[in-house]
Symmetry: C2
């Protein structure tokens, strides 16, 4: 048996950042294109723009800089603040998995035992 988790950030009870938006921003960073980043995570360009707008509004930070057209179409890149934010979010996620595993072991006893033989009673 293993513990799984999902985390996200909220501001005043409204979700503002989670794994989907993380993937979108990472994609923009990787491909330099909102369109390509949207495709990779299977959302429309329109939806991606709307996510970015909402994030920027709620976080009050400019996240993405868009460049106008030209021969190969426009591009997009993350602002320095967006990169800092992503870094922190990923640090948050990383630490958490280890913490949860540890906590799970403390409460449910030896995790490996569960994994190996499926459950078989947790005393």
């Amino acid at each position: 048996m293993e513990i799984r988790s999902k985390i996200w950030l909220e501001i005043n009870g409204e979700p503002v950042f989670g794994s989907g938006r993380d993937a979108l921003l990472q994609g923009i960073d990787k491909y330099g294109s909102i369109n390509k980043a949207a495709k990779v995570i299977n959302i429309s360009y329109r939806k991606a723009l709307s996510y970015i707008q909402i994030m920027e509004k709620r976080l009050r930070i400019k996240l993405v800089e868009r460049k106008a057209g030209g021969k190969h179409g426009g591009g997009a890149k993350l602002t320095k603040k967006a990169k800092e934010f992503l870094k922190k979010y990923e640090a948050l996620e990383e630490g958490i998995n280890e913490i949860l595993d540890k906590r799970f072991s403390e409460v449910f006893g030896n995790k490996k035992g569960f994994k190996g033989q499926r459950v078989q009673g947790f005393k």
Copy 2:
């Protein structure tokens, strides 16, 4: 800004227990009735039975004892093992919120500052 989380348990990649099933078992414990517990969490009796069956199968533990009809209809109660399991799951959940809050503060800095003034840059 605050961190939010959802946790659940899996066995061999299949979800086996989370907040919904927790609420169902707690309801059975409270009301002594699968039917009433299902209503409270807005699922059908049939669905509740199916959840219980699947949990029992995957966890390999008898969770719920059902009594046959009689004047006031049958009742249901949690087994001792189910109660032990619930206790552990709740201990797991409780600890985690505090841990996540702490972790969030470590990574994002003073949480109160975020809360008070919405975001305003996370340095």
